[in-house]
């Protein structure tokens, strides 16, 4: 109840999470559609290791 009573103090913090939730849901929905149409990405051959000199 105390948490709810202080809603006015922390609700703005929750708003920062909205884009994250939207993106996660959108990607999940997009991946689900691809899986249903059999368009899922299978195993992909990977190149040999990179050589960096930084």
């Amino acid at each position: 109840m105390i948490v709810l009573a202080h809603f006015g103090h922390w609700y703005e913090s929750v708003l920062y999470l909205v884009p994250l939730v939207v993106v996660v849901l959108a990607l999940w929905w997009s991946g689900r559609g691809d899986d249903e149409s059999g368009d899922a990405t299978g195993g992909v051959a990977v190149d040999a290791g990179r050589t960096n000199d930084g």
Partner: protein, 474 residues
């Protein structure tokens, strides 16, 4: 390939509509929110959460645009460089190294012999504003400015030269593989703890003694493993500044200057040095600086510090214990987010390789976090160097006649500052996405597979953008 093309075409078709929405939002939002009035420096031109929404939208649109338009790996073999030969450039390294040594000696002396009030001693401002903020920013613009001035490297080189002249030279030990990037990680995390958690972290004598300790460790490392290898792998600050210098459009060498695409140099960073732990720590240190000033951490401190004090930690130790826990939490959070982004790639590439292959993509984000969090400090506190250089010990001297100079707080308005902060955060994350997309293209070949492999990275970039805006706004 057909599927890839149609998906890209769909994305490209939707892009103008989405851009139109962003444009409309950017026109409408400021007009309504600026009307709320701005009184103090903490008031923002738009609500922080709205800024976060707009910023993340731009990041998402950039991700879509990358998938649609960036179809082949451009930096698989490193960025294209145009070289300009500058005769005699190698010769200036000696005088610049001498300047670095003299500056280091003078600063340490100021810290030990000067006023112990951090505001009146040149050392703390030099370390926490010039060294920690201005040097990374300058490195990202004009290249590695620290390397030629690196005082312990200059001493190490001079000692090596003298030893070889006297016939004392011996072959350095091979750098042990188990040491990896630990010296860099410990150095950076330790420095962050000193700055953000330790209560006496700005005491001039403490900073001076730790600077001497750090220099001593570097000299020992160079003596054991050789100057080039230790500077490349073990000198935390040299590595830190070199990471930002990789983003610069200029690369300096003994032979001259090379021009390249901005940010592209990050693709050449050695993952053995710039490991996931190191680059996530670079982001995490700055994140904790913002988090430690947030209302949330303030509320936690109010509740927890008295309890810790009551169980015997005392008034000084209790906030430092809580700060250490919060610091570790933030470092772990950023590392965990990065590992989350790489996890789908673990099966294909192996966890170790997946983690290191994309670590460089966080470097522009680390720069964005540094700029966004410290641009105000740089602009305002940086001016403090003018009087401090005239009276470095805080003894009342006025060597340059500028000891009475005061900070001009009108150089930039709080609103303009916030716009700059949001802009650099967005640019940093878009640059990170571009680097990740390019690396995915070189690893997976096709645009569609590369784009799909980067979906978790998008989630992390959105999370980091929101987190960055939350930390700035709170």
């Amino acid at each position: 390939m057909i599927g890839a093309r149609s998906a890209s075409t769909r994305a490209a078709r939707r892009l103008p509509h989405a851009l139109a929405v962003v444009g409309a939002a950017s026109l409408v939002a400021p007009a309504t929110t600026w009307a709320h009035g701005i009184g103090g420096t903490n008031e923002l031109p738009v609500p922080g959460w709205l800024g976060a929404w707009a910023a993340t939208l731009i990041v998402v649109l950039s991700f879509i645009a990358l998938g649609a338009m960036w179809r082949t790996a451009r930096f698989a073999d490193g960025p294209v460089e145009r070289h300009l030969r500058i005769p005699g450039l190698g010769l200036v390294q000696v005088p610049l190294g001498a300047v670095g040594v003299l500056a280091f000696a003078g600063l340490v002396y100021a810290g030990l012999a000067g006023s112990q009030d951090p505001a009146n001693n040149v050392l703390p401002t030099t370390v926490y504003v010039v060294f920690w903020v201005a040097v990374p920013v300058a490195s990202a613009i004009v290249g590695d400015v620290f390397a030629p001035l690196n005082p312990w490297r200059a001493v190490g080189r001079a000692a090596g030269w003298a030893a070889s002249r006297l016939g004392w030279r011996r072959d350095p030990l091979p750098y042990p593989s188990w040491l990896g990037s630990w010296p860099v990680l410990v150095g950076l995390v330790g420095f962050g703890w000193l700055e953000l958690v330790y209560l006496d972290g700005d005491a001039p004598a403490v900073v001076a003694r730790l600077a001497l300790l750090y220099a001593g460790v570097q000299l020992l490392g160079m003596a054991l493993f050789g100057e080039p290898e230790w500077t490349r792998r073990g000198d935390a600050f040299a590595v830190y500044f070199r990471a930002f210098a990789a983003l610069a459009p200029l690369r300096w060498s003994r032979a001259g200057l090379a021009r390249r695409a901005p940010v592209a140099g990050a693709t050449q960073l050695d993952p053995m040095v710039f490991s996931a732990a190191v680059v996530t720590a670079m982001v995490g240190i700055t994140s904790f600086d913002g988090f430690s000033r947030s209302g949330l951490f303030g509320a936690i401190s109010e509740a927890v510090v008295p309890v810790l004090g009551d169980i015997g930690l005392g008034a000084r130790l209790a906030p430092q214990v809580l700060g250490t826990v919060g610091y570790a939490f933030m470092l772990g959070l950023i590392w965990g987010l990065y590992r989350l982004a790489c996890r789908p790639l673990d099966r294909r590439m192996g966890a170790r390789r997946a983690g290191s292959a994309f670590a460089h993509t966080l470097v522009p984000i680390a720069l964005a976090y540094v700029l966004a969090h410290y641009v105000g400090l740089l602009i305002f506190q940086g001016q403090e160097m003018v009087p401090l250089l005239s009276d470095p010990l805080g003894s009342g001297a006025d060597y340059l006649g500028t000891a009475d100079t005061v900070i001009d707080y009108t150089l930039i308005t709080p609103q303009a500052l916030w716009v700059v902060q949001v802009a650099v955060l967005v640019l940093g994350h878009v640059a990170g996405l571009a680097l990740a997309h390019d690396r995915a293209l070189s690893e997976f070949g096709t645009g569609r597979q590369a784009a799909r492999s980067q979906n978790p990275m998008l989630v992390v970039m959105v999370a980091l953008t929101s987190l960055g805006l939350y930390l700035l706004s709170s």
